[in-house]
Each structure stands twice: as C-alpha cells, then as structure tokens.
Amino acid sequence: MAYTVTEYVMPKLAMAMNEGTVADWLVQDGDYVEAGIPLAAIETEKVAYDVESPVSGYFYSVVPVGQTVDCGTLLAHFCTEPRRPDAADTSANNSTDLPADTLGANEARSKRDPVAPSVVDSASDTAATFELKRLKSSPLARKLGKQLNIQLDALTGSGPGGRIVKRDVMAASENKTHQSAQLPTAATEVSGDILATLPMSGLRKTIANRMVQSLQNTAQVSCHWESDITRLLAQRAELVEQEELLGTRVSVNAFLIKALVYAIRQVPIANANVVNDEIVIHRNINMGMAISIPGSTEYDSGLMVGVLHNVESMGLVAIDKGMRSLIARVRNGEATSDDLSGSTFTLSSTAGIGPPGLKTTPVLNQPNVALLGPSTPIERPMIKDGEVKACTMLPLSFTFDHRALDGEPAARFMAALNNALEKPSLLLT
C-alpha cells in the first residue's frame, strides 16, 4: 500500500467554538493509533473535551501541547507507515505530480480531506454564542507567545486593526513576571497600596466583552415590581415536606421557571433571540441561568450561563433536579457544550445574596431578548380584600430588548408572570 497521509485538524466541537487549545496529546508521536481510542484533550474557552481518534494510522503531531489554534488548523498527521511525513507527502500540489502507480487518484483526494470528529450538533438552535473574532497576530507574536507561555487570545492587540504584535506579548510577559515577582511580597509589605492586580483576560475578558457588547448593541429596558408569593411559598412548603419522596428539595427557582413557562406561553415573543437582524422566536424554552463561579483569585468572581433545555416539557421536580445538576456541572468545570449554549431566556437571581427588596437592572444575555432577575423576598403589609395582611413579596427585575419587544407585550408578559406567581394553581395548567 502506498504511503498516504490523513490530516487531522482542530475539530469544531460546538457551534460557538472558533479555536481550541491542545491541552494534551494522549498518544505519542510514532504510535500506531486505532480509530476510536482517546487521542487528545482539547480545551476551549469554556469546556475541556477528550476527543477520539477518527481514523487508524501512525500518529505524528504538528501542533504541540499548549498551543491554541483556529478550528480547521492542522493538528496532526495519521500515516499509513511509521514515517513522519515531509513537505512532499503533505502538499496537495506535489501529490498530483506523482506517478499514478505510486499514488492513486482516490488516495490523493483522501489526503486532502482533513478529518475531524463529528461536530456536536446544536445547529437547530441559534445559541447564546460567544462572539469570538478571528485573532489577528503577527508570526513573531505567536512565536514569542509560545516561548513565553502567553495566551494571545487574552491580549489586546496594539497593531493596526487590533493586531497582536511583539510589543503586546512582551508587555504581557513583563506583567506576568512583574506580578509573580510582586504578589508574594505584596502580602507581606504593608506599604503597598495595591491589593491585587487582576488581568482582564480569560473568563474575565469574555464577561467584560459580552457585557459591553450587550449594552452597546441592544435597547435594554428594565422594569421592577413585586409579586406576592405567600401562597406559592405555602405550596412549596408542602413539596419540601415530601423532599425524600421527590428526591429533591424543590426550590423557589423551580417555581419561577414554571411561572416563566406559563408567561412565555401567553407572550411567546419573550422567548426569542435576535440573530443577524432577525427575531427568532422559539417553541422550546431553554432556560439560561446565570451561575456564579469562583474567580481567578480571592478578589475576583466569575460568571457563566448554564442552560437547562426544554423546561416547557418538565415538571417542577424535573426542573429542580435538572437545575441543581446543571449548576454542579458548571461549577465543577464538567459542563458540556450543550450545558453552555442555546438559551432562549435568561434567569439571573440574586435571591438569598442581596438584601430583601433589592431591585436590579440586569444586563441582557445576548442574543436573548428578555431576562428575569429575582432577588431576596421581603415581608410587607399588603391590603388584601380591605384588610392588612403580612405578605412575602418577591422583588422582580425584568430587562427586555426594546428592539424586539415593545412595552405592550412586555407589560403583558410581566402581568402573566405576576399572575402565575401569585396564583400558583395556574402552574398546574
């Protein structure tokens, strides 16, 4: 059999994935690798994946461990003989010059067809994707980044059009040395004014970019009201009593999600994404949930949006269990691509953390057009049927994108939600 080479490229493991880092090769150069065995650990900004070998052959890596490359970039070769391919073996132009008897036409074609594992298909849903721009960087900056172990995607380029150039990498490298040299002494030196300097990189940079983009690109309106959840809490108390039977301690959030499903059925446009100048209204309700995670230091915080899919078809218990396991996966770094994409509505709660009665102006989780931000309930005297009664009021902040949603449907949505929360029997409908 003639010597042929199959190219293995950086797989696109999720819709939102534009680049990936080879965290580890799980096989050695020169190994004969069977199709289907674990090949590499690939990390994206959000998720780590183990990928399997798509074909069998002698494995020769091209991209070293630690390097970040665009999807579709050549990562490795699978060869039919234990020999590292040279330029002539891998160049499509050269291969056509070879006599037909040493390299058949089909083989020549297969050589040029790069393989990658099947893509996780979330194409049916225009997910809440991270909009990563193509990283513009100079060859020298990339080389220096590799040598100095600086991730270029965390840098802001100072070259033309934001291109990352040598001075950016050198500056980052100096910062790094500076910080590692300074931080330990900062703890002991009382004289220092600066407690910590946090790099705007990685997750922090992603959050920053997304928040600014959201505020710049949408017409956000925030509204506030309080719903009387006294009856809802009484119903919940009954479910909490059955905790052992149900296998979960049903949370107020589960009721909230159920109420949102009810309100979305009344006003479907609240369950929509704005994508490429189109308002895409979804039948399925995929609840994005803002989940706080530890930051890079004790001073920092992190935030990710986990997605509980198809909550419209779930009961209270299923929602509650699904929510709890989703939060655990996100916080433990075990979230799958699906766990982090595809939201159609966002729930961002500060209940139990903020003071009772807190009102917020939450920032939309683009491309979702609406977001609900409940916070810590407050006890208030309310007039019910002409009598003053002690009620538990849930403060609610609702942000909507006025590009997609006008005041009238937004008000109807809030009214429907309020109705469902105050009359929880509606949640049974």
Binding site: S138, P139, L140, A141, K143, L144, Q147, G159, P160, G161, V165, K166
Partner: protein, 466 residues
C-alpha cells in the same frame, strides 16, 4: 470661522509638511501650509531627487565605459556636465510642481512666507522682511527641516567650499574634490564625481566610512569605492581650510600627523542642523535640545498645540521618516482610530552610491550589544544569476536573525539596486514575519531579490545556492 483661522497650520512644505497638510485635509481639517521657499523642501529640490538624477547620469556613464564587456561598441563618449545638471534641475522642478498640484487638489491653502510664532496658537507670516498676515489655528505643526552643518571655523557656501546645494549645481566638474564626511550625502557625491573622473578624497572622523552601517558593509563598500578611485582618510579631521582664487588648501590631521593638501574644491557633508531658530519657538515654550525640537512619540512638543515632524525634530534625517511622522501626528490630532506612532526601529536607510547600500534594523554590533543571541545570514551577489547577467555581481546581503524567535533583527545590503530590495525586509519587519515566513515566501527567478531570500535561508543553514 474667520478667514485666518484654521484647524491646522503647517510650517514648511517638505516631505513632512506637505504630507501632513494633505492628510489633515483628507481628514476634514481646514489647513494652511506656510512655505518660505519651494514646495517639496530640500528633498525634492536640493536633496533626494536631484541627486538621484545626477547619479543616474553617472551610472549610465559607468555602463558606457564598460560597453565592450557587453559586446557593444561606443565610438564617442563624453560628459556634458551642464546638461547633466540641467536634467537634474528639470526633474526636481517637475516634482515640485506636482506637489503644488497635490496641495491644490486637497484644498490646502498655500501661504508664501516665513512663519514666526506669535502665541501657542498663532503665527505671523512675513515676506521679504515685511509682515503680511497673522494666522491662527487649533494646532500648528513645525516641519521646517534642517540645513547643512558647518565645520567648526569653516563655513560652507563660498565659491570653492561647497555645501550640497552648490555641489549639485556646480558650473563645471572640478579636477579634484575634498569631501568632508562619509555619511550618505558625502559618499553619494564622492561616487558621482569620481565616476566623472574627479580625483576625490574623503575625510572621515570615525574609524570607518558610513559609520552608521554594519562594519562588514562599511569595510566592503570602502574597498569597492577605492577600486573606483576614491581615496579615504579615516580617523582624520580637517582643522582648517583656506580658499584662494583657484584652490582650497586644507589642513588634514590623521593619526600619523598633520598634512596640508590642495584641492580644486571642497564639499562639507558633516550632517545637518535643525531649522529651529528664527521661529520664536522658545518664546512660546517649545523645548529644544541641540537645536532639535523635543517631541513625544506623537510629535507633540511641550506646548500641547504645537507639534514637530521630520528633520527639525531630530534624526534620522530621512524624508520617509518625516512623511510617516506627518501621518502619525495628523491622525493623532484628528483622533483617528488607526493612528499609530512610527516604529523607530524600522526606518530603512539607503545610500545611492556605486555600489548601493541599504539597511534596516540592528547591525550585528547593535544586536550583540542588546544581548540578542543571533544567527547571521549572508549571501553574495556572485551567487545570483540576475546579478551576473547584469554584469554587476559585487556585494552581498547580510541578515541578523534572533536565534530563539527567528525575528529578523536587521538586514544590511551592499550591491546593485539594493535600495530597491530593502523594502522586503521593511515589510517583513513591520508585519513581524520571522525567518520562517520569509523562507517560505517565493521570490521570482531570476531577480536580485532571490539573494535576500537566500541570505535569510543561510541564517538557518538552509541556503541553496551557496
């Protein structure tokens, strides 16, 4: 806006000033350009361009002398020096008119006269000693250039002790010429006159000629110039000059002692001095250092509304540096999102002598001094087919590569048309291409450019034709 109120006033219409004016107008500013002499400045009228025209005549002369080597017979050959000068002046005049046209097309108001600062935002313009008009602007860019530096105690500009301006309009070819200074200007005139049979002696204070170039280039070029009849005195200085009706007597001090020599003419080419006087700059608070205006990376002086670009703001004294500073400064003033200060480590230098010299970035000595671990590439033109076909295979291309990153730290060239080759390295450095990317680049065959490719390859031990 009143008639004499502008967004920007530019003082000086050379390659810094006129470019600043055009760019500012493109960005929507109302611009006045004040020029006391000719548009285009020294570069177009008395520098870069007319000397290239003269050197072209010399180059053709050189080729004609060698005609038989190319299988050609030339029956009668001679030099009509005044026609050589006339052609040079015609080329300069044509370009200067072109600048006037460009400024007019870009709606820049041209005001003839000498500008003097009245305040941080206004200047008065005088003509023939009389004040004509006062102009004010939000920003004022000083682009008044530089003039030839005199030797201590010896002023150029007399009948037989020339500055560059007299040298390029000499009425007749001298029999012998003393050139003081072996920088680009001195070496170009030495090459020019030597080609036309003038006995040229060059005096240089440093221990080598072209002291800004890599030492290997200096040494090689010196040998080439000597082959063409130029005599060099290094580590030497002219301590006095006496002009008679028919000659210049110079006292030249070297390591071995002092000697008195007689020349037909002398040319002083010992650098330039900024035209920062007679502008009342100090009056408005602009700081000067060794006559150059002190600026920040954007060309801003200590006075926020006053900017300086080009030769008046310090070296290297090159037209392309001035033009690029002009664009950077104007775009910064206009808050243009793509404004970038010029990259001072990436200013190419060219000397249009025979052979030509061109360089970019660090010399070998500078790279080592900056603690780079380097690899050197070198490719001689004798290994280049096109150079052999041209009959001009003297010279080489040397490259300095960072051993760790493959960054092209510097490139130094001597040989045929190297001033037209250097831009590949300028571009590579600007784009931060490393030796790998240049190595992968396909240079057309047969061209001189293949030599620069091979030079880069040779730094990694991968040269193919040596």
């Amino acid at each position: 806006m009143s008639e004499n109120k502008y967004n920007l006033i530019v003082i000086g219409g050379g390659p810094g000033g006129y470019v600043a004016a055009i760019r500012a107008s493109q960005l929507g500013m109302r611009v006045a350009l004040v020029e006391k002499d000719q548009l285009g400045g020294v570069c177009l009228n008395w520098g870069c361009i007319p000397t290239k025209a003269l050197l072209r005549s010399a180059e053709i002369h050189h080729l004609l002398k060698a005609a038989s080597a190319f299988g050609l017979r030339v029956s009668e050959m001679g030099v009509d020096w005044s026609a050589v000068v006339a052609r040079s002046r015609q080329v300069a005049g044509q370009l200067s008119k072109g600048v006037a046209h460009l400024l007019k097309k870009n709606k820049v108001e041209i005001i003839q006269g000498h500008g003097t600062f009245q305040s941080t935002n206004s200047i008065s313009v005088s003509r023939d000693g009389a004040e004509t008009v006062t102009l004010s602007a939000d920003h004022i860019i000083v682009a008044t250039g530089a003039r030839a530096r005199d030797l201590p105690g010896i002023a150029a500009g007399s009948d037989r002790i020339w500055n560059y301006r007299q040298a390029m309009t000499a009425t007749a070819l001298p029999s012998s010429l003393l050139v003081v200074g072996s920088g680009a200007i001195g070496i170009e005139f030495a090459s020019l006159f030597a080609e036309f049979g003038v006995a040229v002696s060059v005096v240089e204070m440093a221990d080598r000629i072209l002291p800004n170039e890599d030492t290997e280039v200096s040494a090689y070029a010196k040998a080439q110039f000597e082959k063409r009849g130029i005599r060099f005195l290094t580590e030497a200085k002219v301590t006095s000059m006496e002009e008679t009706a028919t000659s210049v007597e110079a006292v030249i001090e070297t390591n071995t002692g002092s000697s008195r020599e007689v020349f037909d003419y002398a040319l002083i080419a010992v650098g330039v001095v900024a035209n920062s006087d007679s502008l009342s700059l100090e009056k408005v608070g602009v700081e000067l250092k060794n006559s150059s205006i002190v600026i920040n990376e954007w060309g801003q002086t200590r006075v926020p509304s006053i900017w300086a670009i080009g030769d008046v703001a310090g070296g290297p004294w090159l037209a392309h540096k001035a033009s690029h500073e002009a664009v950077a400064t104007v775009e910064h003033i206009a808050r243009h999102p793509n404004a970038h200060p010029i990259n001072r480590a990436n200013i190419p230098g060219c000397t249009y002598s025979f052979p030509q010299i061109a360089s970019i970035g660090m010399t070998e000595q500078q790279a080592l001094a900056a603690n780079h671990k380097i690899r050197k590439g070198n490719f001689p033109f004798i290994g280049n087919g096109k150079a052999l076909a041209l009959g001009d295979a003297d010279g080489f291309i040397k490259t300095i590569v960072d051993d760790d990153t493959g960054e092209i730290l510097g490139a130094h060239m001597v040989g045929a048309e190297v001033t037209e080759l250097i831009h590949s390295f300028v571009l590579a450095r600007e784009l931060e291409a490393t030796e790998d990317e240049v190595g992968m680049t396909m240079f057309p065959h047969p061209t001189l450019s293949e030599a620069l490719h091979e030079s880069v390859l040779s730094a990694a031990g991968k040269a193919l034709h040596i």
